[in-house]
């Protein structure tokens, strides 16, 4: 669009405007201006982005990671608030509410990490050299790590028993994988959240109906293998649904 010879657009106000070309023969002022503009407009990445860029060996992937909707400050504040409320409830009631909330928080965060309706430029990102599958993977793992850290902090603050403090990490993996699989297959973050929360609620209520204790979902060692099997199946579904092949969806 910036083709003054074709459009008659005025360059007034720009460096090089009204330039005495005869006195600067051989100097490409447009090129000079682009060099100046590049320096003036360039954005210095923060330490976190530089670190992520080095770890992931891709500045594009690092930038994509830092734009994850469920890693932005408002979302993190909401997650911290929910888990803090859970920790307070645990302290006041003696019931392990925080360990039961942590998988639900992670499921919601992962479902909202990437996808249509969640990421404004999702379709455009799908045409980029940095694979959208890779973006999904990096974002999901980062959200999982962040929510794990928040969950552990909440459980530690609430004084939950050691077994419970870490007992929810395996179910959290399964519930997060379920939310991710549902969001990827249905191409809807809301469906992912609904599936994750519903799956977790059914597990808790089912455990309570069977044993009379709703904490069985995070305490029973016998459930570890089923949780891991669910997680593996869901991750396989994610890989299948996010493949690029001949399609009619």
């Amino acid at each position: 669009m910036n083709d003054p010879s074709a459009t008659g657009r005025s360059d007034e106000g720009r460096p090089g405007a009204g330039r005495p070309d005869a006195g600067l023969a051989g100097v490409d002022l447009d090129r000079v201006w682009i060099g100046v503009a590049a320096q003036v407009w360039r954005r210095e990445p923060g330490w976190l982005e530089r670190l992520a860029g080095r770890l992931l060996r891709s500045p594009g992937l690092a930038r994509a990671l830092l734009t994850t909707p469920s890693l932005l400050v408002p979302w993190l504040i909401a997650s911290i608030a929910v888990l803090a409320a859970g920790a307070a409830a645990t302290l006041s009631s003696g019931q392990p509410v925080a360990p039961l909330l942590a998988p639900a928080v992670a499921a919601a965060g992962i479902a909202y990490a990437y996808g249509p309706g969640v990421d404004p430029a999702w379709e455009l990102a799908g045409s980029m050299a940095v694979s959208d599958r890779m973006v999904l993977l990096v974002r999901a793992l980062s959200v999982f790590a962040m929510d794990s850290a928040l969950g552990i902090a909440a459980c530690a603050a609430s004084g939950a028993a050691l077994g419970i403090t870490f007992g929810w990490l395996v179910p959290m993996t399964a519930v997060s994988a379920l939310a991710l699989a549902a969001a990827t297959v249905a191409r809807s973050a809301n469906v992912g959240v609904a599936a994750g929360l519903a799956g977790w609620a059914i597990t808790i209520l089912g455990g309570q109906a069977a044993t009379g204790k709703f904490t069985v979902a995070v305490q029973a060692p016998v459930l570890v293998l089923p949780y891991l099997a669910v997680a593996a199946a869901c991750l396989a579904a994610v890989l299948y649904a996010s493949r690029v092949s001949k399609g009619n969806r």
Binding site: Q39, W41, R42, A121, G126, S127, A129, V130, N248
Partner: protein
């Protein structure tokens, strides 16, 4: 040829959006015309490697986008402006363009100059540091064009690029298209025939998922003598070809 499409189809469940399209295009500006629902956007999304084809053969920049490696190489050399481009409202113009330059795998050291050049080419230098939430619809469209051309693409796919641009900007944009078309293959999907007449060297007309005309704008204009309606010669050609295609379909 930068684009080679043979008998390409794309289905969404029972709906066939693209039905057996054959198309080839080398450097130049290629216009994709057609009424709403003709399949232009779907075809463009397939060419942008966002959607896989249901069947048929697709080669872009002499590569098959079905494989991971070739697809990544195509995407490095591709510029794409979707019909509905989402924005990050908190990003500035430069941050947005830079983000996609990085996602296109451009070398980080070259990105600042490429971003500045792209922003200048769409005449948004004065808004380079402005947040996207403060820009008008036409300016946002130009930001979208800037991200599409930031990597100096060999294949540029633009879906309704002039939507929201004022007449002066559209004239400027056509000049930019002609310039880009000298080195790259530029595919412009539009329903504005005047854009095609002013900027395109070749045009295809789609209807109901099929290409019903493929030729130069002059050839399409010439078809207007066969009973087309409209104010401009190219519009008459457009309507005449569409009417004949629909008649042929009804008879078959």
């Amino acid at each position: 040829m930068n684009i080679e499409i043979t008998d390409l189809t794309r289905r969404f469940g029972r709906t066939q959006a693209v039905a057996g399209v054959d198309l080839t295009a080398g450097p130049g500006v290629f216009g994709l015309l057609g009424p709403n629902g003709a399949g232009k956007t779907t075809l463009l999304r397939v060419m942008a490697t966002v959607l896989p084809p249901t069947s048929g053969r697709l080669r872009l920049l002499d590569r098959d986008p079905g494989g991971y490696g070739p697809r990544r190489e195509i995407r490095r050399r591709l510029g794409y402006l979707p019909q509905n481009l989402g924005y990050y409202p908190g990003f500035t113009v430069c941050e947005f363009v830079e983000y996609f330059a990085l996602l296109k795998d451009m070398p980080a050291a070259k990105v600042p100059a490429a971003v500045a050049a792209a922003v200048e080419r769409v005449d948004l230098g004065v808004k380079a540091k402005a947040k996207l939430r403060t820009l008008s619809g036409g300016m946002l469209r130009r930001v979208g064009i800037a991200q599409a051309i930031v990597n100096d693409p060999e294949l540029l796919l633009l879906d309704e690029p002039t939507a929201g641009l004022d007449p002066e900007q559209r004239v400027q944009f056509r000049a930019l298209l002609r310039d880009l078309g000298q080195r790259a293959t530029v595919v412009v999907s539009t329903h504005l025939v005047e854009d095609v007449g002013a900027a395109c060297t070749e045009v295809a007309l789609m209807d109901q998922g099929k290409v019903v005309f493929d030729g130069t704008p002059d050839e399409l204009t010439a078809r207007g003598t066969e009973g087309g309606t409209g104010d401009a010669p190219l519009e008459r050609g457009y309507t005449a070809v569409l009417a004949q295609a629909r008649l042929a379909q009804a008879q078959s």
